[in-house]
Symmetry: C2
DNA sequence: CTCACATTCTATCGTTCGCTTGATTGTTGG
DNA sequence: CCAACAATCAAGCGAACGATAGAATGTGAG
């Protein structure tokens, strides 16, 4: 009765609103960004986002109810992951609106991001070809745990914080292509800046690992 | 100070959350659906969505602040419109998550939509070709006001309610392709069902006018 | 200049939301 | 079976949100 009397339209709008609401909180977006890297348990997510455990749990549950996440139990852990690649599309759409229409974001993007990386990013297609040709060093600047959940085959994992210390691991002869969590992850920008300052040829991969994976490109573990 | 101390990441997440929040309400989604058809003033939008005027105004203003809408003044009217085609992408992304992951929506889509239109919708590309070849009648089943804001060139406007009464306007010889507001607008589904019941060959255009326009295809006024 | 109309603003009220705390459930390893 | 740990649940709080009504602003027509 509720369904038919309120009309199909109302049901759809309410359901859609629940999905949007599920993403409409800074902490949730932080959780989603981390979950886009791969499956994680509640405690790990709470730690990495700086949230109270119970609080993180509640956010995760409500995103699960809304259909953004799915969860499975593994021993005493509850492992959450993105329900679907379409969740990435949602985040992308929000990002595109933000970069073109939100004053705060436009400012950050132009002042912070562009100054560190004036060049166009390397496309996935281009990187794939140059990997086959062996003309690049691929650098994954995410934390080790995220690297362990999947990375571009052949990539070297050097978290940004360790970069200066570990420059020796990177040959100067080839161009370095760095990537991290996604289009708005600052690590890759910072890495490219640091590498250039050290005399490397360095560029950034477009987006991050989640998009690489969603594109159906190979992921190593 | 606020900006740099909280970190770039936090700023981005907050801005993104504001955008998601701006869409996270059933009334707002209804407003967006109507605005996707074209520019409208506050009173018209309030009427068509059944909202209190002041309430509609407030929703519109907060969506404007978030960057989903833009507004211009024309005489005593304030005309709102979608800020950007990327807002359509956002709605699409929400819809895709809903159809694959939200129980209520899956039920509606399979029970209501599929039963009325088992066939695949006509793609925009296909319709464009068949329009040139003259082998279809294009039917716009939206209300006259929306038709007036732009429609597929050559389309005949027959709001769903008037369809039975005006079947004479539609030649039986050609296949009819009906469209309305978007992928979840029920009018086109109902029109196709009614036409088939009346012995027509009828199909639905994928999505609706907003996507046609966003694709860069010609729109008549 | 005034009137009519479109819209926004202001104040208010009830509801929902997010976060914290402490208790509870569920699972593994000893 | 018990100890240790992961996660959820339950209650309570303050803040933010959505709706409404009435006042105020802005604009054009006469």
């Amino acid at each position: 009765m509720t369904e038919s009397s309120r009309g199909v339209k109302a049901i759809l709008h309410e359901s859609f609103a629940e999905i949007a609401k599920a993403a409409a909180h800074p902490h949730r977006l932080a959780l989603l960004e981390h979950l886009a890297q791969g499956e994680r348990n509640v405690d790990a997510l709470a730690t990495v986002t700086g949230l109270n455990l119970a609080n993180a749990s509640q956010h995760l549950q409500s995103m699960r109810r809304a259909g953004l996440l799915s969860a499975r139990r593994d021993g005493k852990f509850t492992l959450y992951r993105l329900a679907d690649d379409s969740v990435l599309d949602l985040l992308d759409a929000i990002g595109r609106i933000a970069t073109s229409n939100a004053a705060a974001v436009k400012e950050v993007v132009s002042s912070y991001f562009n100054e560190r990386d004036a060049m166009e990013p390397v496309t996935r297609r281009e990187l794939r070809q140059r990997m086959k040709a062996g003309t690049v060093t691929v650098l994954d600047v995410r934390p080790a745990e995220e690297f362990a959940l999947g990375h571009v085959p052949g990539a070297i994992n050097v978290p940004v914080g360790d970069l200066k210390r570990r420059l020796a691991d990177l040959p100067r002869s080839k161009e370095v292509v760095a990537y991290c969590r996604g289009p708005y992850c600052v690590f890759a920008f910072e890495a490219v800046a640091a590498l250039r300052a050290a005399g490397y040829r360095a560029r950034r991969l477009e987006d991050g690992l989640p998009h690489w994976r969603a594109d159906g490109l190979p992921v190593a573990l």
